[in-house]
């Protein structure tokens, strides 16, 4: 008997042609509402699910944003059917008590139409009683493209409860700055590694990654893993296409990694802007920048070296000499002294300048991972990322202007994507307007440099920057302010809000923005042997076979 009742309440055995429900009401601005098919269990319908509304002329690709239980008669709610009265329960289900599902149409296609380039926004709504069906495999590839079609598509994962890959359009992805967000422990690093792999494999842009926690270059820990709990880094997957730079070569060597280059920074390479960016970390007064500029006016590039070379008591005299406020300058001096503790800060370089080497690699299309080793403090990260990015950006501006002048395709700079973690430290409202990252985020592709912002606290990022991010990939966020922050610049954000808050804490992400035709919740692709293989990585046996074949080709059998 129990089976019988199960069959009546949400059984897959009842043939309904995949119909989840019918559209009952709605509006273009608020989204449409669907009455759930009484033979479907509400518990099988999840927020974020990808469904298709079969209109008369158009198909509306939609996302489930909300679910609600309704009753036509309040008396039912006061005197619910007795426990065990399954018959009455089944009779009421779908007639007097029913489930309303809020849908947000995201994309509209004429029946049979393919997306050619630009997706068409939704300009109308489906008619009354249009059937709502679950998206099928072909619908997903019709909307999101597939890797077989084109190398601009990169498989990021699958929609909820489905097996067809959802692809992002990498060409569109690199056109803008992008963001990857999520609470700590929700898989931000995995998402980032996935995106970077896509960019490297399909050769869409050169990457410069400021790897604060040493998790992109060489192997990284896998959370919650058992036994083999390390995953491969970019260097292992892509070999010579990736160069490893290290700020802390000793730490790299201890982890068994030989960095390709060691990075040192001279005091002369630090500009006043770089110090202003550290305002929060160093707790600088607003007047500090004025004092720094006064020193700069006198000593130009040598300003920091000059300032730090003065001993405590002489600072006041120095302030008098250059006409600066004594207490302000001595505070600045005191605080900047901290920079001298960093082992990577040197007075003069022994070898080549790190930025020149990096530019050389970038010009050759080789991706750079800069490991911070044990220098995981925010101050070091901010300082180094700012100095290097500013100088690379300067060179890019020169290169782009040269290209604009010559219009020679050979002069066209390679597209550069800079990945920064803890982005709210660089892009908070107080400093975003002054630091180089604020400039890059706003300038976008004009100078062929864009950002990949990785952060767990998007509400700390300047709104202007957030609204300019092209594609956002977001794992679970709980804080209301963070959710609001991520959805800045998104029209009709209310539906996405509930979807975002109901994501699983692992391996689920909401992708929306420039690189996908419509927002979609994905179960992210597994970062495992199959993925390594797809990225062109060979297993140990295959490597041996390949080496043997190569040696046979050279030396004969």
């Amino acid at each position: 008997m129990n089976d019988l009742w199960n069959n009546l309440n949400g059984s897959p055995t009842i043939q309904d042609g995949g119909e989840i429900g019918v559209v009952t009401q709605g509006s273009l601005t608020e989204g449409v509402e669907m009455k759930l098919n009484p033979y479907r269990s509400v518990e099988d319908v999840k927020a974020g699910k990808f469904v298709v509304i079969d209109g008369y002329k158009n198909q509306f690709f939609s996302m489930i944003t909300d679910l609600s239980l309704d009753a036509t008669n309040p008396e039912i709610l006061l005197y619910p059917p007795r426990e065990g009265d399954q018959l009455l329960h089944s009779v009421l289900n779908g007639s007097s008590t029913y489930v309303t599902v809020a849908l947000r149409p995201m994309l509209m296609l004429e029946q049979g139409e393919e997306i050619v380039d630009e997706p068409r926004p939704v300009k109308t709504i489906p008619s009354h009683f249009s059937k709502v069906v679950e998206a099928e495999e072909e619908d997903v590839s019709r909307v999101f493209g597939s890797e077989e079609k084109d190398d601009r598509f990169f498989n990021m994962g699958t929609p909820l409860d489905m097996d067809t890959p959802v692809c992002i359009n990498l060409n569109r992805f690199v056109e803008r700055s992008n963001g990857i967000f999520g609470k700590t422990g929700t898989g931000k690093s995995f998402l980032t590694r996935l995106v970077l792999c896509g960019l490297i494999k399909n050769k869409k842009a050169v990457n410069l990654i400021f790897d604060m926690h040493n998790e992109y270059g060489f192997r990284a820990m896998k959370e919650g893993g058992q036994g083999n709990s390390f995953v491969k880094g970019l260097k292992q997957l892509f070999g010579n296409q990736v160069a490893l730079f290290s700020l802390d070569p000793e730490s790299s060597r201890q982890r068994g990694i030989q960095p390709d280059h060691e990075v040192y920074i001279t005091y002369d390479q630090v500009a006043v802007e770089d110090v202003i960016a550290l305002q929060d970390e160093l707790q600088l007064n607003p007047t500090a920048s004025e004092s720094a500029y006064l020193v700069y006016a006198m000593y130009k590039d040598r300003w920091l070296r000059q300032l730090l070379s003065i001993d405590g008591p002489d600072v006041e005299q120095f302030a008098d000499d250059i006409g600066a406020n004594k207490s302000s300058l001595s505070a600045l001096h005191r605080k900047l002294k901290r920079l001298e503790t960093f082992p990577f800060m040197v007075n003069s370089l022994n070898g080549a300048d790190a930025v020149d080497t990096m530019m050389d690699y970038i010009d050759r299309g080789i991706h750079i991972v800069l490991e911070f080793g044990r220098q995981t403090g925010m101050l070091a990260y901010l300082l180094v990322a700012n100095i290097l990015s500013r100088r690379i950006h300067e060179q890019y501006v020169t290169k782009s202007e040269k290209f604009y002048a010559s219009q020679n395709p050979e002069d066209q700079p390679r597209h550069l994507v800079i990945t920064i973690e803890e982005a709210h430290k660089f892009l908070n409202p107080a400093t975003a307007r002054q630091t180089i990252f604020g400039t890059i985020a706003r300038e976008m592709r004009k100078y062929y440099v864009s950002l990949l912002v990785v952060d767990q606290r998007p509400s700390g990022i300047d709104e202007e920057v957030l609204s300019q991010l092209g594609t956002k990939i977001t794992a679970l966020l709980n804080d209301e302010k963070d959710i609001q922050g991520v959805l800045t610049g998104v029209s009709n954000a209310s539906g996405l809000r509930s979807v975002l808050a109901s994501l699983d804490s692992k391996q689920q992400a909401l992708v929306f923005g420039h690189a996908v035709p419509m927002p979609v919740v994905i179960k992210t692709r597994d970062y495992d042997e199959i993925f390594y293989k797809a990225m062109g990585d060979l297993s140990d046996e295959e490597k041996m076979e390949k080496a043997e074949a190569a040696s046979a080709a050279i030396f004969g059998d």
């Binding site: 019988l4 009742w5 069959n7 009546l8 009484p38 036509t72 008669n73 008396e75 039912i76 005197y79 059917p81 009265d85 018959l87 009455l88 089944s90 009779v91 009421l92 779908g94 007639s95 007097s96």
Partner: protein
């Protein structure tokens, strides 16, 4: 049409003595032999008319006389006063819920009321199924005059359900139709459904 042609002469259970477009009254072939309350019946003829029994009564054949109490059991009465049973008759009334044409049973009122003296017999299982495949027959019951609507619904739905070998999804479907027809009267619905499934 003669009884011999119909070849079901032995199965008839009543004969129409009063007829209108919406209801008919039949005299039972045997005393106390009326079809059960809520059962589906039909008239015999070229255009069979389908009805639902909603009232059964047994009384004296003389309109102005009433039966008298004897203080004996039926068995004793039959032995001592057998003639009194000849002076009684059983009648049953049915509400018309459809008629049959060459396409089968139709759930609309017949163009003409059934003829007086037409014979009445129980519906077959397939006819019951055809008449009750949707909840429209419930509407006929709810709209009829002076019908014991709730009890008639309970009895007729139990018959329709039995004709489908107690198929649960059917009962749920009928319940949903009923819910709509009684305009979400939750108390009434729960009472009816509870009594149907008892």
């Amino acid at each position: 049409m003669s009884l011999a042609q119909l070849d079901i002469s032995t199965e008839y259970i009543g004969e129409i003595v009063e007829s209108s477009t919406s209801q008919f009254t039949s005299e039972s072939r045997e005393l106390n032999g009326a079809p059960p309350f809520g059962s589906f019946v039909k008239t015999l003829g070229a255009l069979p008319v389908y009805g639902l029994v909603f009232n059964v009564c047994t009384h004296s054949i003389e309109p102005n006389r009433r039966a008298t109490a004897y203080g004996l059991t039926e068995q004793e009465l039959r032995e001592e006063q057998p003639q009194i049973f000849e002076l009684l008759k059983t009648e049953f009334e049915a509400v018309i819920i459809g008629y049959g044409d060459d396409r089968g049973p139709q759930q609309v009122l017949p163009p003409q009321p059934p003829g007086i003296h037409s014979f009445v017999c129980p519906c077959t299982e397939s006819e019951i199924k055809a008449l009750t495949n949707s909840g429209d027959f419930l509407r006929s019951i709810l709209c009829g005059n002076r019908l014991p609507a709730d009890d008639l619904i309970i009895a007729s739905v139990r018959n329709a359900w039995a004709a489908r070998a107690l198929d649960m999804p059917y009962l749920v479907g009928i319940g949903k139709d009923l819910c709509r027809l009684i305009r979400d009267d939750y108390d009434r619905l729960s009472s009816i459904m509870r009594r149907i499934s008892q």
